[in-house]
């Protein structure tokens, strides 16, 4: 995923540099000064870019804050599309997630943690982030249903994917709660733990 590659056309390099500067500065300003307190004009001034240019790089103010989420899901979907899933679906989904996590950029941890913490503090970001999950869910269901058609099968696929996302969200919430300590390895461990808890959770009493 690390396409730092300097063998891109000059134009692309410039564009990529402003894209990253925007995401980086946005994350800093949002956490330092607050999400609502930071206007897009502030951000654009800081990066020395026009507001118009911002919107050519990101679809919305929420989008730039949650760039790390977006990268994860995009990488995940690529991976799912590239390989064939075998065995129990939820296991396959979990395994692929763990692999994808391992392959993210080196500083992805930090950016993702910042995004999660913002997302918990700002309702608008939380909603937007859930939207990403939902889009990913849709795409996953489509990808999985293509391979094994059927009507009952589709309901099961959707349900499985929803549960998968639910477990991921629980795991990342736990990781965020301890402020990301242990880094990516800890996150992966929490994913494994949380998925293993699913049967117990279904059986647990009030």
């Amino acid at each position: 995923m690390s396409d730092d590659l300097r063998d891109l056309p000059l134009r692309e390099r410039k564009k990529l540099r402003t894209r990253r500067a925007l995401a980086e500065t946005a994350l800093r300003l949002f956490t330092e000064d607050g999400y609502d307190a930071t206007t897009l004009d502030d951000l654009c001034d800081a990066v020395e870019v026009s507001k118009r240019t911002f919107f050519r790089n990101y679809r919305s103010k929420e989008d730039v804050a949650l760039a790390a989420d977006s990268e994860l899901w995009s990488a995940y979907l690529d991976r799912v599309a590239a390989q064939e899933l075998t065995g129990p679906l939820i296991e396959a989904l979990r395994t692929t997630l763990v692999t994808t996590l391992g392959d993210m950029d080196l500083d992805w941890d930090r950016r993702f943690l910042a995004a999660r913490e913002l997302s918990e503090a700002v309702p608008a970001l939380q909603a937007h982030s859930l939207g990403y999950c939902q889009d990913t869910t849709r795409a996953l269901v489509a990808a999985v249903s293509d391979r094994s058609g059927g009507d009952v099968a589709e309901v099961r696929a959707r349900l499985t994917v929803e549960i998968f996302v639910a477990a991921w969200r629980t795991a990342s919430l736990r990781w965020t709660a301890r402020r990301g300590s242990g880094g990516r390895d800890a996150l992966v461990a929490l994913v494994q733990e949380t998925f293993a808890e699913i049967p117990a959770a279904l059986a647990s009493c009030a």
Copy 2:
């Protein structure tokens, strides 16, 4: 839930009437002309109310479109708070949901269906609707964790609640896909079916 009650102070009655007129007209305009194409000014003109008044009744444009969702979750949380949950947690949550569904207003079906269809067409509404689920999740976890403390228990509770919401979303999606045919009874039946599918989904293969 049917507090049509005319034994309220006159002022309350008026307020309630504009509240309902706003929700009703909003749903109509949004479905007829499109969500984005309908401005709040359009809505306020149609109801003959100032924009300021709109925002004293609803927090946002999304809010008024998803009033039916909001009512459901609010009624559900009331019910959960009022009774004690016994036996397997997910069963208790499901049963309470079915009861709550049975007790909604008579025209709730129609409004909920309209809200769901809008929500599937408009990303902003989808995100907002997921936000409601998330808030409900939080509240449920808090309510359940109060009763049975513990650290591992809290993770299980959260996971259970997340799975509960996942199943509900799958069920209501199925209902919406068939355009709400069969009304509320069909929705309840789908809820039962979908929850029953959970074990099979977890075991299902790709």
